[in-house]
Symmetry: C2
Subunit: 412 residues, 2 copies
């Protein structure tokens, strides 16, 4: 029997090693540092219930349950514009569209911009689902090197000149998986690069709110307030998934008018519009107050301090249990330690350790611990000694126990 004649674009993308690891997470007793999930115990369920009750109240239920505008639910576009103003980004409600999670914003950018064979620059490493999403549109990905201060702008400029890419995709604040924070100076340079080389810069910002100490520098888009010739070349993707709820799937995209119009047309034929109910819940939630502050700010304060404490505990445990066998930069926010196996012995041992993080990740579940190897996060030239550890969903006891298991699983 013949089989279905699938489209050639699927040949670009394969099921990742990471997906195989996720299947193991259901094993009883396993501790997971693998996911990129927020801690559901920190969701403001009560606030979301209140926002939902408003959305399905007599005044708005009819409109919420009916078809809506592809561009987004009016009150949410207004609320996001106000929210963005608080971050220094000046945008009108019709200067943004809402999306079904910020993943859809990436898909719409791919669909509107990328021809098969087009060069697209991403950070090495970068968000795995961006790599796959852009590859499905035929992108030929180029990897720009990063350090703890984010993408190296000197190298990025060379790559832009060399490859004339369709777009550059960056996660400037607490990148996934790198955890890196792009410095103010480098952000300003990127604004200049956009204007000078007339190249679209896509700034993905799901983690910017999750800072432990000082907030991140202004976003690339905010910095373009002083550089009007850069503005036609900048897009920004935001998300409610890391604080409010990923399950309701609401994100947004700010982009130049022409790109926004094309993305809206593509969205019309992708899912018509994002769930009005989800959008109305987000819009209503942004208005909720708790005393002098918003509920969002109150929730954010709890999330930040909880994740900060977990990151600190994980650092202490990694130092104690793995010592020189593992290097990393201490994250100042976000959800991840991005680490590298050195081959050095663990503390109290003389045995050299493996630098094969993929093999390490495969055997770790047998020791009751799961994490993801770093290689799949590289579009090209994977660093196979890297791995990503998330502290977001484990309490302090599990972090202690989990890092202990990590150390036991390391020697081969």
């Amino acid at each position: 029997m013949s089989s279905l004649p699938f489209a050639a674009r699927l040949d670009q993308v394969h099921t990742s090693a990471i997906r195989e690891i996720f299947k193991l997470l259901a094993r009883p007793g396993i501790i997971s540092f693998a996911g990129g999930f927020p801690d559901p115990a920190l969701f403001d369920v009560e606030g979301i219930r209140e926002a939902t009750g408003q959305a399905l109240g007599d005044a708005s239920a009819g409109a919420v349950l009916q078809y809506g505008a592809t561009e987004g639910w009016g009150p949410l576009r207004q609320a996001v514009a106000t929210h963005m103003a608080g971050k220094g980004i000046s945008v009108q409600p019709d200067g943004l569209i809402t999306t079904t999670g910020s993943q859809q914003a990436l898909d719409l950018i791919g669909k509107t911009m990328i021809n098969p064979g087009d060069k697209v620059i991403v950070e090495g490493p970068t968000f795995l689902a961006t790599i796959q999403c852009f590859k499905l549109y035929g992108a030929d990905l180029v990897s720009a090197p990063i350090d703890a201060d984010g993408v190296r702008v000197d190298e990025l400029e060379k790559l832009i000149i060399q490859h004339k890419p369709k777009l550059v995709y960056l996660i400037p604040s607490f990148g996934n998986p790198s955890g890196a924070m792009l410095t103010l100076e480098r952000r300003k340079k990127i604004v200049q690069l956009a204007a000078q080389h007339q190249v679209l810069i896509v700034e993905d910002d799901p983690y910017g709110e999750l800072y432990f100490g000082s907030p991140p520098p202004p976003s690339i888009m905010a910095l373009a307030n002083d550089v009007p010739e850069a503005k036609p070349w900048l897009a920004y993707c935001g998300s409610f998934s890391k604080v409010l709820s990923p399950g309701i799937r609401v994100g947004w995209m700010i982009a130049p008018p022409e790109l926004l119009a094309k993305a809206t047309m593509c969205k019309q034929f992708s899912d018509a519009h994002t769930s009005n109910l989800s959008q109305a819940i987000a819009a209503n939630y942004l208005q909720l107050k708790d005393g002098n502050q918003t509920r969002l700010d109150k929730t954010l304060a709890v999330v930040r301090s909880t994740y900060a404490q977990r990151a600190q505990t994980m650092a202490q445990c990694l130092q104690r249990e793995l010592g020189n066998a593992l290097t990393y930069t201490q994250p100042q926010g976000g959800m991840f330690f991005w680490t590298r196996l050195t081959g050095q012995p663990t503390p109290g041992s003389n045995t050299a350790t493996s630098q094969d993080a993929t093999a390490y990740a495969k055997r770790a579940p047998d020791h009751g611990i799961a994490f993801v190897p770093g290689a799949p996060f590289f579009a090209v030239n994977p660093d196979t000694a890297t791995l990503r550890l998330s502290y977001a969903t484990s309490d302090l006891g599990k972090i202690e126990e989990g890092v202990g298991r990590l150390a036991k699983a390391l020697p081969v």
Copy 2:
């Protein structure tokens, strides 16, 4: 200044005349037969509130608000499988995925199946957003002729042999815009065509529940129970949008395992998953009872009788006000009259009328009435004398008044 270098696939699709008409609907006092929307007054808001309360109850809120599986919310996949069994389709929960409205199912089929230049057969006329969605993936659309009994299977077979299409897309029950009902005999023939020519048949069924008298014949997929060699070539798209609520965006797709796996991978990079909250609401709603019957059945009974009455009233008004100037087949379900201008005078007049439905649709809003011309619903060779009238959202008084305005707007 240069402008953004958009992808070539966008050149396949243009903003439709219909979108321009929709912008006029906000005019005060206008009566609209234009939309494909269900009547929000018939939504079971109380039932949806109850289902939402359950979804955000302590037992499930954490999971609902967290990231979910790309394949769908487990209880919904189970509930849809049970729902489908009631329609004669035997499917396990893992034999279907949930989608962000059935529009996304179409997008996933396009993404997984269509290479640029691939032939795809659709009905002439067919759902406008399917035409646009498939064109964005580069489909070269072929139009199969229809009559009141649905697609003409003899012609369809010739076209399959001639074009060797990647897939055939059909709306067998109360097609949009045609309102046509594919006969049992023709459905059986299509099952044979799938097996014989090894061609993927995509059956889109958003309207099948909206029957006024007898239910439609079994779906193409249900008829394949007796023809196992056809099963690997059949996909089915379902939707909660026409009865429960379009605003929450929940649909589903049943397909052969390999297609389902590829579509799931594509969905992962399109929107990660459909809103868990929307899915949980749909799953819970399907369990709600009202006495002996389900709330869904109770709601469906009201929707069917309301739309049936509106369709009958519209027929009477069209006959009285437009007479021989307009031909149509009386719909037995669904939301639409598919009509054709004959050029004959309206009753009591001797003046010949226009057969240009596009010009008619453009001037109609000046007479306080809106509808959509039929031409955009044809992938090729548009019949410019056709137009679509929806009775779903207008009460009987508005239908009377609106058809009167239609008659006044017709002569040029």
